[in-house]
């Protein structure tokens, strides 16, 4: 399979006199895998995706899809790219089949292959009835149709702007599973506010704040970046609260979590984590010992200044 690539080089986008939405952004990815693109609202995630597909023109710098500038050579740049940006709205009067047919034909598929591809994406995404008009569909159904449109013809690069937005929990699980399969032989750039989604799907994460790239990391390496770790401990039976003092030398805070659990926060490495686990086992049999927050979420809160909500029911 032709492996895809996308890149931004010193990319800046400014609207009028406002501060730049995207500032001096540079990255390049090729091959296969999923890259999470995270940041607060207004950080410039969607702007970057729009710049990548040529919906916006850079103020400075350049972008390329599969090595081709989408502003200079739109047809060639978008030839092997599927994109879902913002909330695409196919013509409301066309049926699901007709809407997908339009995309399939524009991507150079034969009538037979279009039908095969629609069947394939139908199997992947459980599309609504193909004869239904787009205007009759719910937001979630429409989102699945536009995701199917992005996948038609099996493009090597997928640019997805909050792809599970508007989907119900079951649909989110479906799409996450699909993206996990697709990333084996596709290159996916996926913006998301869902840290669980980024953790489950992405291999790497780009953190954007005020239009600047503030961190780029492998997702599995984010765990080692954590300064503060938060774990939930579930004991076999309720434990007197006074015994939490036995963990005081290892931890920053301990809070009750349910009838049989504590939420333990500590600073340190995996060795400290192991020591906390041992100390808990010494108090009572432990049935669960797991991270209370996601590494991606912690990294996000670490690199992007924000008003972190105060923990509820904090004790010493």
């Amino acid at each position: 399979m032709t492996m895809g690539s996308f890149e931004a080089s010193h990319l800046t986008k400014r609207f009028g006199t406002a501060p730049p939405s995207v500032q001096d952004l540079s990255f390049r990815f090729d091959g296969a895998g999923a890259i999470g693109y995270v940041g607060p609202n207004g950080a410039g995630k969607t702007t970057t995706l729009k710049l990548l597909v040529g919906l916006l023109r850079p103020t400075k710098g350049r972008v390329a899809l599969n090595g081709v500038d989408p502003v200079a050579n739109r047809r060639r740049a978008l030839w092997d790219v599927g994109a879902v940006i913002e909330t695409p709205e196919p013509y409301p009067t066309l049926t699901v089949h007709e809407s997908l047919d339009l995309v399939g034909r524009a991507r150079g598929l034969s009538t037979q292959d279009i039908d095969r591809e629609i069947d394939r994406t139908n199997g992947l995404l459980h599309l609504p009835r193909l004869g239904h008009r787009i205007g009759w569909l719910s937001k979630g159904q429409r989102q699945r149709v536009v995701l199917a449109a992005a996948l038609l013809g099996d493009p090597s690069v997928l640019l997805l702007d909050e792809p599970t937005s508007g989907l119900d929990p079951a649909e989110r699980v479906l799409v996450r599973g699909l993206l996990n399969r697709l990333k084996q032989d596709h290159l996916i750039l996926m913006s998301s506010h869902q840290m669980l989604e980024v953790t489950e799907v992405c291999d790497r994460a780009l953190f954007l704040d005020h239009g600047r790239l503030v961190l780029e990391s492998r997702v599995d390496e984010l765990e080692s970046r954590r300064r503060l770790r938060d774990v939930l401990v579930q004991f076999l039976r309720p434990v007197p609260w006074e015994r939490s003092r036995e963990l005081a030398h290892l931890t920053t805070t301990i809070r009750p979590a349910g009838e049989r659990g504590w939420r333990v926060t500590f600073e340190g490495t995996d060795e400290t984590r192991a020591a906390v686990l041992e100390a808990c086992r010494a108090i009572a049999p432990v049935v669960e010992f797991e991270s209370a927050t996601l590494a991606v979420e912690d990294a996000y809160l670490d690199v992007i200044p924000t008003d972190r909500p105060a923990p509820v029911g904090t004790t010493s």
């Binding site: 060639r76 978008l78 940006i85």
Partner: protein
């Protein structure tokens, strides 16, 4: 200057669907067909068609009620005179259709989510525009054709088949087609400028119908021929059927005071319409190319 080259990615490994490069002509056909499907299912098209049919049918019904003899006298015993009067509203239908199908044809891409579906396709924007323009032309001409069918049917009923000047009807329809192209060029240009779809439709109607008509009246009062007006040029559609056509009429208003009325000749009409087409269509393509999805 950048030059677009034809994509060469054609076939991946087994299991991946084969894809052939899509030429601009093929993309234009695809987009025209899909846009046409969309237009003919809209309430705008169905409503306009129903309105034109209702008005035409009512007109015919009143004429039939008045009787063949009365209509023949009223129309000076000429089928072309009858048709010229019947088809007098062609320009209005075309302006309405141009506003409905062209007034928001491009702005939808930047004010709604439509652009996030179509503008990420591997198709040049000029080809997207061409597909929409062609589809809008075809639906507008469908409405006009229905109107002409009613008019021609009436002419046959009141004057008999042999009295019909088919060549003049065809010539008039050809002018209507040219007027459609010109009006749509203006509408597309408006839609490339005005971001709100509703405002685009309104501005197109106000410009093409109200604006030009008022301006035409004002310059005629000043004794100037309104050669700049598309509405003026549109008069050629009915004028070509009018055997008593007069280019210039002077109406005395009082002592040494005259009011001059111009009617566009066929060639004048053709030139003005072509002028609008040549100026506004490339302008809309340029503006559409420059537009960004900032919403």
């Amino acid at each position: 200057m950048s030059v677009e080259t034809t994509p060469t990615v054609s076939r991946g490994p087994p299991g991946r669907p084969a894809r052939h490069p899509v030429s601009d002509l093929e993309a234009w056909t695809i987009l025209t067909v899909h846009q046409l499907r969309n237009y003919v299912r809209t309430y705008r098209f169905l409503g306009l068609l129903a309105f034109v049919i209702s008005i035409s049918a009512l007109t015919l019904a009143f004429q039939v009620d008045a009787g063949i003899a009365t209509v023949r006298v009223q129309q000076l015993y000429r089928s072309s005179e009858y048709l010229s009067n019947f088809l007098d509203y062609t320009g209005l239908w075309i302006v309405l259709a141009a506003a409905f199908f062209g007034g928001d044809a491009l702005s939808v891409d930047f004010s709604t989510g439509a652009g996030y579906y179509t503008l990420v396709l591997p198709v040049r924007r000029s080809v997207l525009l061409a597909g929409r323009y062609t589809a809008a032309t075809l639906v507008t001409l469908a409405v006009v054709a229905v109107y002409y069918a009613f008019g021609t049917g009436g002419a046959v009923y009141f004057f008999g088949g042999p009295a019909i000047h088919w060549d003049l009807i065809l010539e008039s329809f050809g002018l209507a087609a040219l007027f459609t192209l010109a009006a749509l060029s203006v509408a597309f240009c408006v839609s490339a400028f005005v971001r709100s779809p509703a405002a685009g439709v309104l501005v197109t109607i106000l410009t093409l119908y109200v604006g030009f008509t008022v301006l035409q009246g004002v310059v005629e009062l000043a004794g100037v021929e309104p050669w700049f007006s598309l509405t003026y040029a549109g008069g050629a559609m009915a004028a070509v059927l009018d055997t008593d056509f007069v280019h210039l009429q002077t109406v005395p208003l009082g002592e040494d005071q005259y009011y001059t009325i111009w009617a566009a000749t066929v060639w004048e009409g053709v030139l003005i319409m072509l002028g609008y087409l040549v100026v506004f269509l490339p302008a809309s393509a340029y503006l559409y190319q420059r537009q960004e999805s900032t919403g």
